[in-house]
Protein backbone atom coordinates (compact mmCIF):
# COMPACT_ATOMS: atom_id res chain seq x y z
CA UNK A 1 0.00 0.00 0.00
CA UNK A 2 1.53 3.27 -1.05
CA UNK A 3 1.43 6.38 1.11
CA UNK A 4 -1.06 7.92 -1.29
CA UNK A 5 -3.49 5.01 -0.78
CA UNK A 6 -3.54 5.32 2.99
CA UNK A 7 -6.27 7.24 4.74
CA UNK A 8 -5.08 10.59 5.95
CA UNK A 9 -5.96 11.23 9.58
CA UNK A 10 -6.55 14.92 10.25
CA UNK A 11 -5.08 16.25 13.44
CA UNK A 12 -7.03 18.64 15.60
CA UNK A 13 -5.31 21.30 17.68
CA UNK A 14 -5.61 20.88 21.43
CA UNK A 15 -5.33 24.58 22.18
CA UNK A 16 -2.69 23.63 24.75
CA UNK A 17 0.74 25.08 23.91
CA UNK A 18 3.24 22.24 23.60
CA UNK A 19 0.69 19.41 23.68
CA UNK A 20 0.20 19.06 19.93
CA UNK A 21 3.92 18.41 19.53
CA UNK A 22 3.79 15.76 22.29
CA UNK A 23 0.80 14.11 20.58
CA UNK A 24 2.70 13.89 17.32
CA UNK A 25 0.95 16.80 15.62
CA UNK A 26 -2.43 17.03 17.35
CA UNK A 27 -5.45 14.93 18.21
CA UNK A 28 -6.52 12.37 15.62
CA UNK A 29 -9.87 13.46 14.22
CA UNK A 30 -12.83 11.19 15.12
CA UNK A 31 -10.79 9.43 17.80
CA UNK A 32 -12.34 8.18 21.05
CA UNK A 33 -10.18 9.33 23.94
CA UNK A 34 -9.94 9.24 27.69
CA UNK A 35 -8.60 12.03 29.86
CA UNK A 36 -7.72 10.39 33.17
CA UNK A 37 -6.22 11.58 36.41
CA UNK A 38 -6.81 12.29 40.07
CA UNK A 39 -9.04 15.16 41.28
CA UNK A 40 -7.37 18.51 40.69
CA UNK A 41 -5.03 17.22 38.03
CA UNK A 42 -6.51 19.50 35.33
CA UNK A 43 -8.74 17.07 33.39
CA UNK A 44 -11.74 19.38 33.04
CA UNK A 45 -9.58 22.36 32.15
CA UNK A 46 -7.83 20.30 29.45
CA UNK A 47 -11.19 19.18 28.06
CA UNK A 48 -12.42 22.78 27.97
CA UNK A 49 -9.27 23.95 26.25
CA UNK A 50 -9.70 21.32 23.51
CA UNK A 51 -13.37 22.20 23.23
CA UNK A 52 -12.89 25.94 22.81
CA UNK A 53 -10.01 25.40 20.38
CA UNK A 54 -12.20 23.38 18.00
CA UNK A 55 -15.87 24.26 18.46
CA UNK A 56 -17.62 26.16 15.69
CA UNK A 57 -21.31 26.91 15.15
CA UNK A 58 -21.25 24.47 12.20
CA UNK A 59 -19.49 21.69 14.17
CA UNK A 60 -20.30 22.53 17.78
CA UNK A 61 -18.95 20.88 20.89
CA UNK A 62 -21.29 19.05 23.25
CA UNK A 63 -20.23 18.85 26.89
CA UNK A 64 -22.25 16.25 28.81
CA UNK A 65 -21.95 16.77 32.56
CA UNK A 66 -22.78 13.87 34.85
CA UNK A 67 -22.84 14.08 38.62
CA UNK A 68 -19.40 15.63 38.74
CA UNK A 69 -18.69 19.29 39.21
CA UNK A 70 -22.04 21.14 38.95
CA UNK A 71 -22.25 22.83 35.55
CA UNK A 72 -22.97 26.28 36.96
CA UNK A 73 -19.85 26.10 39.13
CA UNK A 74 -17.82 24.71 36.25
CA UNK A 75 -18.80 27.69 34.11
CA UNK A 76 -18.09 30.04 36.98
CA UNK A 77 -14.53 28.78 37.32
CA UNK A 78 -13.67 27.91 33.72
CA UNK A 79 -14.60 31.37 32.44
CA UNK A 80 -11.64 32.70 34.44
CA UNK A 81 -9.29 31.14 31.87
CA UNK A 82 -8.31 33.27 28.91
CA UNK A 83 -9.16 30.49 26.43
CA UNK A 84 -12.81 30.55 27.56
CA UNK A 85 -14.73 32.41 24.87
CA UNK A 86 -18.20 33.38 26.16
CA UNK A 87 -19.29 34.20 22.62
CA UNK A 88 -19.11 30.47 21.81
CA UNK A 89 -21.47 29.44 24.56
CA UNK A 90 -24.90 28.12 23.51
CA UNK A 91 -23.77 28.52 19.95
CA UNK A 92 -20.58 26.56 19.34
CA UNK A 93 -20.27 25.13 22.85
CA UNK A 94 -23.27 23.51 24.52
CA UNK A 95 -23.49 22.04 28.01
CA UNK A 96 -25.97 19.27 28.63
CA UNK A 97 -26.65 17.80 32.04
CA UNK A 98 -27.25 14.04 32.03
CA UNK A 99 -27.22 13.50 35.78
CA UNK A 100 -30.87 12.66 36.08
CA UNK A 101 -30.84 10.11 33.26
CA UNK A 102 -27.84 8.41 34.81
CA UNK A 103 -29.41 8.44 38.25
CA UNK A 104 -32.86 7.30 37.29
CA UNK A 105 -32.42 5.18 34.19
CA UNK A 106 -30.17 2.54 32.68
CA UNK A 107 -27.27 2.65 30.22
CA UNK A 108 -29.58 2.31 27.23
CA UNK A 109 -31.40 5.48 28.27
CA UNK A 110 -28.06 7.28 28.68
CA UNK A 111 -27.03 6.18 25.20
CA UNK A 112 -30.41 7.22 23.81
CA UNK A 113 -30.08 10.68 25.34
CA UNK A 114 -26.56 11.12 23.99
CA UNK A 115 -27.69 9.83 20.57
CA UNK A 116 -30.58 12.30 20.51
CA UNK A 117 -28.31 15.26 21.26
CA UNK A 118 -25.55 14.11 18.88
CA UNK A 119 -27.98 13.59 15.99
CA UNK A 120 -29.53 16.99 16.67
CA UNK A 121 -26.29 18.97 16.88
CA UNK A 122 -23.87 17.00 14.66
CA UNK A 123 -20.99 17.94 16.96
CA UNK A 124 -17.31 17.93 16.08
CA UNK A 125 -16.29 17.43 19.72
CA UNK A 126 -18.08 15.50 22.46
CA UNK A 127 -17.00 15.46 26.10
CA UNK A 128 -18.53 13.28 28.82
CA UNK A 129 -17.51 14.52 32.29
CA UNK A 130 -17.35 12.43 34.36
CA UNK A 131 -17.60 9.16 32.49
CA UNK A 132 -16.35 7.40 35.57
CA UNK A 133 -19.66 8.25 37.23
CA UNK A 134 -21.62 6.58 34.42
CA UNK A 135 -19.59 3.41 34.84
CA UNK A 136 -19.80 3.42 38.63
CA UNK A 137 -23.54 3.91 38.55
CA UNK A 138 -23.97 1.20 35.96
CA UNK A 139 -21.85 -1.37 37.78
CA UNK A 140 -24.45 -1.82 40.48
CA UNK A 141 -27.05 -3.17 38.10
CA UNK A 142 -25.20 -4.05 34.89
CA UNK A 143 -23.02 -6.97 33.93
CA UNK A 144 -19.52 -6.37 32.66
CA UNK A 145 -20.60 -7.52 29.21
CA UNK A 146 -23.45 -5.02 29.15
CA UNK A 147 -21.06 -2.27 30.21
CA UNK A 148 -18.59 -3.25 27.51
CA UNK A 149 -21.42 -3.29 24.97
CA UNK A 150 -22.51 0.21 26.06
CA UNK A 151 -18.98 1.59 25.66
CA UNK A 152 -18.63 -0.13 22.30
CA UNK A 153 -21.96 1.31 21.05
CA UNK A 154 -21.09 4.76 22.40
CA UNK A 155 -17.73 4.70 20.59
CA UNK A 156 -19.43 3.50 17.39
CA UNK A 157 -22.09 6.18 17.57
CA UNK A 158 -19.71 9.04 18.19
CA UNK A 159 -17.18 7.92 15.60
CA UNK A 160 -19.91 7.32 13.00
CA UNK A 161 -21.23 10.80 13.63
CA UNK A 162 -17.69 12.08 13.02
CA UNK A 163 -17.16 13.40 16.52
CA UNK A 164 -13.84 13.44 18.34
CA UNK A 165 -14.68 12.26 21.83
CA UNK A 166 -13.20 12.74 25.29
CA UNK A 167 -14.35 10.75 28.28
CA UNK A 168 -13.14 12.47 31.43
CA UNK A 169 -12.65 10.32 34.49
CA UNK A 170 -10.95 10.04 37.85
CA UNK A 171 -9.06 6.84 37.31
CA UNK A 172 -6.10 5.35 39.12
CA UNK A 173 -3.32 3.63 37.25
CA UNK A 174 -4.17 0.12 38.43
CA UNK A 175 -7.49 0.34 36.60
CA UNK A 176 -5.95 0.29 33.13
CA UNK A 177 -5.92 -3.49 33.10
CA UNK A 178 -9.23 -5.24 32.42
CA UNK A 179 -11.20 -2.01 32.05
CA UNK A 180 -13.22 -2.04 28.81
CA UNK A 181 -13.07 1.77 28.55
CA UNK A 182 -9.32 1.66 28.11
CA UNK A 183 -9.53 -1.20 25.64
CA UNK A 184 -11.98 0.60 23.36
CA UNK A 185 -10.31 4.02 23.53
CA UNK A 186 -7.97 5.22 20.78
CA UNK A 187 -6.16 7.66 23.01
CA UNK A 188 -5.40 7.81 26.71
CA UNK A 189 -4.05 11.02 28.24
CA UNK A 190 -3.07 10.67 31.87
CA UNK A 191 -2.55 13.71 34.09
CA UNK A 192 -0.59 13.49 37.33
CA UNK A 193 0.23 15.87 40.12
CA UNK A 194 2.50 15.04 43.00
CA UNK A 195 4.16 17.00 45.79
CA UNK A 196 7.97 17.10 45.59
CA UNK A 197 9.19 18.53 48.87
CA UNK A 198 7.50 21.96 48.93
CA UNK A 199 6.59 22.08 45.24
CA UNK A 200 3.80 20.55 43.21
CA UNK A 201 4.92 18.81 40.07
CA UNK A 202 2.40 18.29 37.28
CA UNK A 203 3.12 15.76 34.56
CA UNK A 204 1.19 14.22 31.70
CA UNK A 205 1.65 11.08 29.70
CA UNK A 206 0.21 9.87 26.42
CA UNK A 207 -0.28 6.31 27.57
CA UNK A 208 -1.87 5.29 24.29
CA UNK A 209 -2.57 6.92 20.95
CA UNK A 210 -3.62 4.93 17.93
CA UNK A 211 -2.55 5.91 14.46
CA UNK A 212 0.31 8.28 15.17
CA UNK A 213 3.59 8.49 17.05
CA UNK A 214 3.42 10.56 20.19
CA UNK A 215 6.43 11.52 22.28
CA UNK A 216 6.79 8.85 24.96
CA UNK A 217 7.43 9.53 28.61
CA UNK A 218 6.28 12.01 31.22
CA UNK A 219 6.06 15.66 30.23
CA UNK A 220 5.70 18.47 32.71
CA UNK A 221 2.85 20.93 32.43
CA UNK A 222 1.67 24.02 34.21
CA UNK A 223 -1.79 25.47 34.76
CA UNK A 224 -1.95 29.26 34.56
CA UNK A 225 -4.71 31.75 33.81
CA UNK A 226 -4.26 30.72 30.16
CA UNK A 227 -5.01 27.07 31.02
CA UNK A 228 -2.60 24.19 30.55
CA UNK A 229 0.80 24.60 28.96
CA UNK A 230 2.81 21.45 28.29
CA UNK A 231 6.56 21.11 28.02
CA UNK A 232 7.73 18.22 25.92
CA UNK A 233 10.61 16.31 27.43
CA UNK A 234 12.27 16.48 24.02
CA UNK A 235 11.85 20.26 24.18
CA UNK A 236 10.12 20.20 20.82
CA UNK A 237 13.43 19.42 19.18
CA UNK A 238 12.85 15.80 18.23
CA UNK A 239 13.86 15.18 14.65
CA UNK A 240 15.54 18.56 14.33
CA UNK A 241 18.03 18.74 11.49
CA UNK A 242 21.56 19.55 12.63
CA UNK A 243 23.57 22.15 10.80
CA UNK A 244 26.75 21.19 9.03
CA UNK A 245 29.50 22.00 11.57
CA UNK A 246 30.98 25.43 10.99
CA UNK A 247 34.71 26.08 10.81
CA UNK A 248 34.27 29.69 11.89
CA UNK A 249 35.86 30.86 15.12
CA UNK A 250 34.10 33.37 17.33
CA UNK A 251 36.01 35.98 19.27
CA UNK A 252 35.42 35.85 22.99
CA UNK A 253 36.14 39.58 23.22
CA UNK A 254 39.57 39.12 24.84
CA UNK A 255 42.22 39.04 22.06
CA UNK A 256 44.88 37.18 24.06
CA UNK A 257 42.34 34.55 25.12
CA UNK A 258 41.23 34.14 21.49
CA UNK A 259 44.86 33.30 20.68
CA UNK A 260 44.98 30.78 23.52
CA UNK A 261 41.82 29.19 22.07
CA UNK A 262 43.53 28.78 18.71
CA UNK A 263 41.73 31.71 17.12
CA UNK A 264 38.50 31.85 19.14
CA UNK A 265 35.67 29.52 20.09
CA UNK A 266 34.57 27.23 17.27
CA UNK A 267 31.05 28.31 16.26
CA UNK A 268 28.43 25.95 17.67
CA UNK A 269 30.61 24.82 20.58
CA UNK A 270 29.57 24.63 24.18
CA UNK A 271 32.26 26.20 26.36
CA UNK A 272 32.50 26.01 30.12
CA UNK A 273 34.19 28.69 32.20
CA UNK A 274 34.95 27.28 35.64
CA UNK A 275 36.36 29.13 38.60
CA UNK A 276 35.89 30.24 42.17
CA UNK A 277 33.76 33.18 43.25
CA UNK A 278 35.30 36.48 42.13
CA UNK A 279 37.57 35.02 39.47
CA UNK A 280 35.70 36.91 36.72
CA UNK A 281 33.54 34.21 35.12
CA UNK A 282 30.55 36.52 34.70
CA UNK A 283 32.71 39.36 33.38
CA UNK A 284 34.25 37.03 30.82
CA UNK A 285 30.79 35.80 29.83
CA UNK A 286 29.58 39.38 29.43
CA UNK A 287 32.58 40.17 27.20
CA UNK A 288 31.70 37.12 25.08
CA UNK A 289 28.11 38.26 24.59
CA UNK A 290 29.08 41.94 24.03
CA UNK A 291 31.62 40.91 21.39
CA UNK A 292 28.90 38.91 19.65
CA UNK A 293 26.60 41.93 19.59
CA UNK A 294 29.50 43.98 18.16
CA UNK A 295 29.90 41.35 15.42
CA UNK A 296 26.16 41.45 14.64
CA UNK A 297 25.32 38.19 16.42
CA UNK A 298 22.23 38.46 18.65
CA UNK A 299 22.63 36.95 22.10
CA UNK A 300 20.78 35.65 25.14
CA UNK A 301 22.05 35.86 28.69
CA UNK A 302 20.31 33.69 31.26
CA UNK A 303 20.94 34.94 34.77
CA UNK A 304 19.75 33.59 38.09
CA UNK A 305 21.51 35.71 40.66
CA UNK A 306 20.90 39.28 39.52
CA UNK A 307 18.18 41.09 37.66
CA UNK A 308 18.58 42.07 33.97
CA UNK A 309 18.80 45.78 34.81
CA UNK A 310 21.60 45.18 37.32
CA UNK A 311 23.37 42.85 34.90
CA UNK A 312 23.29 45.49 32.14
CA UNK A 313 24.48 48.19 34.54
CA UNK A 314 27.37 46.04 35.77
CA UNK A 315 28.39 45.42 32.16
CA UNK A 316 28.36 49.20 31.67
CA UNK A 317 30.95 49.58 34.43
CA UNK A 318 33.31 47.54 32.21
CA UNK A 319 32.57 49.74 29.21
CA UNK A 320 30.22 47.18 27.66
CA UNK A 321 26.94 48.66 26.46
CA UNK A 322 24.18 46.08 26.82
CA UNK A 323 21.34 48.58 27.16
CA UNK A 324 21.30 49.59 23.50
CA UNK A 325 21.19 46.03 22.10
CA UNK A 326 18.49 45.17 24.65
CA UNK A 327 16.48 48.10 23.41
CA UNK A 328 17.09 47.04 19.80
CA UNK A 329 16.01 43.45 20.59
CA UNK A 330 19.43 42.08 19.71
CA UNK A 331 20.03 40.97 23.26
CA UNK A 332 17.71 39.42 25.78
CA UNK A 333 18.61 38.99 29.42
CA UNK A 334 16.41 36.33 30.98
CA UNK A 335 16.09 36.34 34.74
CA UNK A 336 14.84 32.97 35.92
CA UNK A 337 14.48 32.80 39.64
CA UNK A 338 11.17 31.20 40.68
CA UNK A 339 11.95 28.20 42.79
CA UNK A 340 9.29 25.91 41.39
CA UNK A 341 10.21 25.85 37.72
CA UNK A 342 10.42 22.54 35.96
CA UNK A 343 13.61 21.98 34.06
CA UNK A 344 11.82 21.54 30.73
CA UNK A 345 9.78 24.68 31.32
CA UNK A 346 12.97 26.64 31.92
CA UNK A 347 14.62 25.17 28.85
CA UNK A 348 11.55 26.08 26.78
CA UNK A 349 11.80 29.67 27.94
CA UNK A 350 15.41 29.79 26.83
CA UNK A 351 14.65 28.11 23.50
CA UNK A 352 11.76 30.51 22.85
CA UNK A 353 14.04 33.47 23.48
CA UNK A 354 16.75 32.02 21.23
CA UNK A 355 14.25 31.51 18.41
CA UNK A 356 12.58 34.88 18.93
CA UNK A 357 15.69 36.98 18.35
CA UNK A 358 17.63 34.47 16.27
CA UNK A 359 20.38 34.28 18.88
CA UNK A 360 23.80 33.05 17.84
CA UNK A 361 25.36 33.25 21.31
CA UNK A 362 23.95 32.09 24.63
CA UNK A 363 25.34 32.61 28.11
CA UNK A 364 24.12 30.57 31.09
CA UNK A 365 25.39 32.31 34.21
CA UNK A 366 25.57 30.10 36.17
CA UNK A 367 24.81 26.37 36.10
CA UNK A 368 24.62 26.33 39.91
CA UNK A 369 22.08 29.17 39.83
CA UNK A 370 20.14 27.33 37.13
CA UNK A 371 19.93 24.19 39.20
CA UNK A 372 18.89 26.12 42.30
CA UNK A 373 16.07 27.84 40.38
CA UNK A 374 14.42 24.51 39.70
CA UNK A 375 11.85 22.83 41.89
CA UNK A 376 13.66 20.22 44.02
CA UNK A 377 11.94 17.35 42.26
CA UNK A 378 13.38 18.39 38.92
CA UNK A 379 17.01 18.69 39.96
CA UNK A 380 17.60 15.01 39.28
CA UNK A 381 16.64 15.65 35.64
CA UNK A 382 18.84 18.73 35.36
CA UNK A 383 21.85 17.24 33.65
CA UNK A 384 19.78 15.17 31.23
CA UNK A 385 17.66 18.14 30.17
CA UNK A 386 20.66 20.47 29.99
CA UNK A 387 22.37 17.94 27.74
CA UNK A 388 19.34 17.82 25.42
CA UNK A 389 19.13 21.60 25.22
CA UNK A 390 22.84 22.14 24.65
CA UNK A 391 22.99 19.41 22.02
CA UNK A 392 19.98 20.86 20.21
CA UNK A 393 21.14 24.47 20.29
CA UNK A 394 24.74 23.82 19.36
CA UNK A 395 23.41 21.56 16.59
CA UNK A 396 21.82 24.58 14.93
CA UNK A 397 24.94 26.69 15.35
CA UNK A 398 24.31 28.51 18.64
CA UNK A 399 27.50 28.92 20.65
CA UNK A 400 26.93 28.45 24.37
CA UNK A 401 29.09 29.72 27.20
CA UNK A 402 28.19 28.42 30.65
CA UNK A 403 29.82 29.39 33.91
CA UNK A 404 30.24 27.14 36.88
CA UNK A 405 31.45 28.02 40.33
CA UNK A 406 34.18 25.86 41.81
CA UNK A 407 35.24 25.52 45.39
CA UNK A 408 38.82 26.76 45.37
CA UNK A 409 41.11 24.04 46.54
CA UNK A 410 44.80 24.42 47.06
CA UNK A 411 45.44 20.72 46.72
CA UNK A 412 43.34 19.76 43.72
CA UNK A 413 42.46 21.17 40.32
CA UNK A 414 39.03 19.88 39.41
CA UNK A 415 37.49 21.04 36.13
CA UNK A 416 33.94 21.03 37.37
CA UNK A 417 31.99 19.88 40.39
CA UNK A 418 29.07 19.09 38.11
CA UNK A 419 30.60 16.25 36.16
CA UNK A 420 29.35 18.05 33.11
CA UNK A 421 32.50 18.11 31.06
CA UNK A 422 30.65 15.71 28.73
CA UNK A 423 28.33 18.64 27.99
CA UNK A 424 31.13 20.88 26.88
CA UNK A 425 33.44 20.99 23.93
CA UNK A 426 35.82 23.44 25.53
CA UNK A 427 36.80 24.29 29.10
CA UNK A 428 38.54 27.39 30.44
CA UNK A 429 39.65 27.20 34.05
CA UNK A 430 40.12 30.34 36.14
CA UNK A 431 41.78 30.13 39.52
CA UNK A 432 43.42 32.05 42.30
CA UNK A 433 47.11 31.69 42.87
CA UNK A 434 49.34 32.93 45.62
CA UNK A 435 52.38 34.79 44.20
CA UNK A 436 54.67 37.21 45.93
CA UNK A 437 52.30 37.59 48.86
CA UNK A 438 49.39 38.46 46.57
CA UNK A 439 46.28 36.57 45.60
CA UNK A 440 46.48 36.79 41.81
CA UNK A 441 44.53 35.09 39.06
CA UNK A 442 45.52 32.68 36.33
CA UNK A 443 43.66 31.04 33.48
CA UNK A 444 44.30 28.01 31.34
CA UNK A 445 42.49 26.37 28.46
CA UNK A 446 41.94 22.83 29.64
CA UNK A 447 40.20 21.31 26.66
CA UNK A 448 39.28 22.18 23.07
CA UNK A 449 37.39 19.42 21.33
CA UNK A 450 37.76 21.10 17.97
CA UNK A 451 41.54 21.22 17.81
CA UNK A 452 44.76 22.48 19.22
CA UNK A 453 44.97 25.20 21.81
CA UNK A 454 47.55 26.97 23.87
CA UNK A 455 48.89 25.06 26.86
CA UNK A 456 50.01 28.31 28.48
CA UNK A 457 49.02 29.32 31.96
CA UNK A 458 48.44 33.06 31.82
CA UNK A 459 47.93 35.64 34.48
CA UNK A 460 44.97 37.98 34.11
CA UNK A 461 43.38 40.89 35.89
CA UNK A 462 39.88 42.27 36.09
CA UNK A 463 40.14 45.91 35.10
CA UNK A 464 37.71 48.62 34.07
CA UNK A 465 37.82 47.01 30.61
CA UNK A 466 36.90 43.57 31.93
CA UNK A 467 39.16 40.53 31.93
CA UNK A 468 42.60 41.44 30.57
CA UNK A 469 45.45 38.95 30.20
CA UNK A 470 48.70 40.43 31.44
CA UNK A 471 52.23 39.40 30.50
CA UNK A 472 53.45 36.25 28.86
CA UNK A 473 53.03 32.75 30.15
CA UNK A 474 54.31 32.20 33.63
CA UNK A 475 57.55 30.33 33.06
CA UNK A 476 59.21 31.02 36.38
CA UNK A 477 56.92 28.86 38.46
CA UNK A 478 56.07 25.28 39.03
CA UNK A 479 52.85 23.89 40.51
CA UNK A 480 50.88 26.96 39.46
CA UNK A 481 47.68 24.98 39.19
CA UNK A 482 47.86 23.98 42.83
CA UNK A 483 47.45 27.65 43.71
CA UNK A 484 50.63 27.54 45.79
CA UNK A 485 53.37 27.71 43.17
CA UNK A 486 57.08 27.29 43.59
CA UNK A 487 59.44 29.77 41.98
CA UNK A 488 62.15 28.17 39.91
CA UNK A 489 65.59 29.31 40.86
CA UNK A 490 67.16 29.27 37.39
CA UNK A 491 70.64 30.21 38.64
CA UNK A 492 70.82 26.98 40.59
CA UNK A 493 68.61 23.93 40.92
CA UNK A 494 66.98 24.98 44.18
CA UNK A 495 63.29 25.54 44.37
CA UNK A 496 61.77 28.02 46.67
CA UNK A 497 58.22 27.62 47.79
CA UNK A 498 56.80 31.08 47.36
CA UNK A 499 54.38 30.85 50.18
CA UNK A 500 57.32 30.38 52.55
CA UNK A 501 59.31 33.29 51.13
Amino acid sequence: MSTADKVRINKLPTGVPGLDEILGGGLPEFSFNIIAGAPGSGKTTLAHQILFANATPERPALYFTILGEPAIKMLRYQQQYTFFDPAKLNNAVRFINLSQVVLEKDLDAVLQEITKEVEKASPGIVVVDSFRTVVRKALGRTTEVELQSFIQRLALLLTSWQATTFLVGEYVEGEIRDNPVFTVSDGLLWLYQAPERNSIVRKLQIVKLRGQASVPGLHTFRITSAGLQAFSRTLGLAGQVRNIPSTRRLSIGIPELDKMLGGGIPEGDSILVAGASGTGKSVLATQFIAEGIRQGEPGIVVVFEERPQEYAERAGSFGLDLKTPRHERKLEILYLRPLDLSVDETMHEILDAVQKIGAKRLVIDSLAGFEMALAPGFRADFRESLYRMITALTGVGVTILSTVEMNESFTEFPFSTYSISFLTDDIIRLRYVCIDGQLRKIMVVIKMRGGNHSKDIREYEITSKGVVIVGDRLTDYQRLITGIPVRLNRSGNNEEQLSKS
Partner: protein
Protein backbone atom coordinates in the same frame (compact mmCIF):
# COMPACT_ATOMS: atom_id res chain seq x y z
CA UNK B 1 -32.80 43.01 47.66
CA UNK B 2 -32.38 42.14 43.99
CA UNK B 3 -29.77 44.00 41.98
CA UNK B 4 -30.93 46.89 39.77
CA UNK B 5 -29.43 45.07 36.75
CA UNK B 6 -31.35 41.88 37.37
CA UNK B 7 -34.55 43.84 38.12
CA UNK B 8 -34.12 45.69 34.85
CA UNK B 9 -33.52 42.53 32.82
CA UNK B 10 -36.44 40.76 34.50
CA UNK B 11 -38.69 43.67 33.67
CA UNK B 12 -37.58 43.64 30.06
CA UNK B 13 -38.30 39.93 29.77
CA UNK B 14 -41.72 40.37 31.32
CA UNK B 15 -42.55 43.27 29.01
CA UNK B 16 -41.39 41.23 26.04
CA UNK B 17 -43.49 38.21 27.03
CA UNK B 18 -46.51 40.39 27.85
CA UNK B 19 -46.38 41.86 24.35
CA UNK B 20 -45.92 38.42 22.84
CA UNK B 21 -48.85 37.13 24.92
CA UNK B 22 -51.20 39.76 23.52
CA UNK B 23 -50.54 38.46 20.04
CA UNK B 24 -51.24 34.86 20.98
CA UNK B 25 -53.85 32.88 22.79
CA UNK B 26 -51.61 32.27 25.80
CA UNK B 27 -53.52 32.09 29.04
CA UNK B 28 -50.57 32.00 31.47
CA UNK B 29 -49.11 35.14 32.96
CA UNK B 30 -46.02 36.73 31.44
CA UNK B 31 -44.05 35.74 34.56
CA UNK B 32 -45.06 32.13 34.16
CA UNK B 33 -43.98 32.10 30.52
CA UNK B 34 -40.63 33.71 31.33
CA UNK B 35 -40.03 30.96 33.91
CA UNK B 36 -41.07 28.22 31.55
CA UNK B 37 -38.66 29.51 28.91
CA UNK B 38 -35.76 29.98 31.31
CA UNK B 39 -36.34 26.60 32.89
CA UNK B 40 -35.54 24.58 29.77
CA UNK B 41 -31.97 25.77 29.08
CA UNK B 42 -31.17 25.91 32.77
CA UNK B 43 -32.22 22.28 33.24
CA UNK B 44 -30.16 21.34 30.19
CA UNK B 45 -27.19 23.07 31.75
CA UNK B 46 -27.52 22.31 35.43
CA UNK B 47 -29.88 19.33 35.51
CA UNK B 48 -33.25 19.27 37.28
CA UNK B 49 -31.64 19.12 40.72
CA UNK B 50 -29.33 22.01 39.90
CA UNK B 51 -32.15 24.17 38.55
CA UNK B 52 -34.42 23.33 41.49
CA UNK B 53 -31.72 24.40 43.95
CA UNK B 54 -31.23 27.71 42.16
CA UNK B 55 -34.94 28.38 41.95
CA UNK B 56 -35.51 27.50 45.62
CA UNK B 57 -32.82 29.95 46.62
CA UNK B 58 -34.28 32.63 44.34
CA UNK B 59 -37.73 32.04 45.82
CA UNK B 60 -36.44 32.36 49.38
CA UNK B 61 -34.72 35.64 48.53
CA UNK B 62 -37.79 36.92 46.66
CA UNK B 63 -40.15 36.16 49.55
CA UNK B 64 -38.26 38.67 51.69
CA UNK B 65 -39.28 41.36 49.20
CA UNK B 66 -42.67 39.98 48.22
CA UNK B 67 -44.38 38.05 51.06
CA UNK B 68 -47.23 37.19 48.68
CA UNK B 69 -44.86 34.60 47.16
CA UNK B 70 -45.11 32.46 50.29
CA UNK B 71 -47.81 30.44 48.55
CA UNK B 72 -45.52 29.63 45.63
CA UNK B 73 -43.60 26.35 45.71
CA UNK B 74 -40.88 24.71 43.61
CA UNK B 75 -41.99 21.28 42.37
CA UNK B 76 -39.75 18.24 42.07
CA UNK B 77 -39.37 18.75 38.32
CA UNK B 78 -38.26 22.35 38.81
CA UNK B 79 -41.57 23.90 37.82
CA UNK B 80 -43.24 26.63 39.85
CA UNK B 81 -46.52 25.86 41.54
CA UNK B 82 -48.86 28.59 42.65
CA UNK B 83 -47.49 31.47 40.61
CA UNK B 84 -50.46 31.76 38.26
CA UNK B 85 -52.83 31.22 41.14
CA UNK B 86 -51.53 34.34 42.88
CA UNK B 87 -53.46 36.81 40.76
CA UNK B 88 -57.01 35.90 41.83
CA UNK B 89 -55.98 35.92 45.49
CA UNK B 90 -54.18 39.24 45.71
CA UNK B 91 -53.99 42.53 43.92
CA UNK B 92 -53.02 42.04 40.24
CA UNK B 93 -50.19 44.55 40.41
CA UNK B 94 -48.88 42.92 43.57
CA UNK B 95 -48.87 39.54 41.84
CA UNK B 96 -47.03 40.95 38.86
CA UNK B 97 -44.51 42.55 41.16
CA UNK B 98 -43.99 39.24 42.95
CA UNK B 99 -43.29 37.46 39.66
CA UNK B 100 -40.88 40.18 38.58
CA UNK B 101 -38.99 39.97 41.87
CA UNK B 102 -38.69 36.20 41.61
CA UNK B 103 -37.35 36.37 38.04
CA UNK B 104 -34.97 39.14 39.10
CA UNK B 105 -33.66 36.99 41.94
CA UNK B 106 -33.12 34.03 39.63
CA UNK B 107 -31.27 36.22 37.14
CA UNK B 108 -29.35 37.77 40.04
CA UNK B 109 -28.12 34.33 41.07
CA UNK B 110 -27.01 33.60 37.52
CA UNK B 111 -25.18 36.93 37.39
CA UNK B 112 -23.46 36.07 40.67
CA UNK B 113 -22.44 32.57 39.65
CA UNK B 114 -21.66 32.73 35.94
CA UNK B 115 -21.40 36.46 35.31
CA UNK B 116 -23.02 38.94 33.02
CA UNK B 117 -21.63 37.64 29.72
CA UNK B 118 -22.83 34.08 30.06
CA UNK B 119 -26.17 35.07 31.63
CA UNK B 120 -26.96 37.44 28.78
CA UNK B 121 -25.81 34.88 26.24
CA UNK B 122 -28.20 32.35 27.75
CA UNK B 123 -31.09 34.82 27.81
CA UNK B 124 -30.33 35.80 24.23
CA UNK B 125 -30.46 32.15 23.19
CA UNK B 126 -33.94 31.85 24.71
CA UNK B 127 -35.22 35.10 23.18
CA UNK B 128 -33.14 35.31 19.99
CA UNK B 129 -35.35 37.97 18.45
CA UNK B 130 -34.84 40.34 21.40
CA UNK B 131 -31.62 42.33 21.71
CA UNK B 132 -29.82 41.60 24.98
CA UNK B 133 -26.17 42.49 25.25
CA UNK B 134 -23.94 44.17 27.81
CA UNK B 135 -25.55 47.51 26.99
CA UNK B 136 -28.78 46.50 28.69
CA UNK B 137 -27.13 47.14 32.03
CA UNK B 138 -25.26 50.32 31.15
CA UNK B 139 -28.23 52.58 31.74
CA UNK B 140 -28.95 50.93 35.09
CA UNK B 141 -25.36 51.25 36.21
CA UNK B 142 -25.27 54.94 35.29
CA UNK B 143 -28.47 55.47 37.23
Amino acid sequence: MSLPESRYLAQRLLTYEAAAGKNSEATESAAFRVFAKLRRPLITLAGVAGFRSLLSRALTLARAEAPSLSAVQVAADGSLQGLDELEPQIDKEQAKEGGAILIAQLIGLLLTFIGEGLTLSMVQAVWPEAAFDGRVFEKERKA
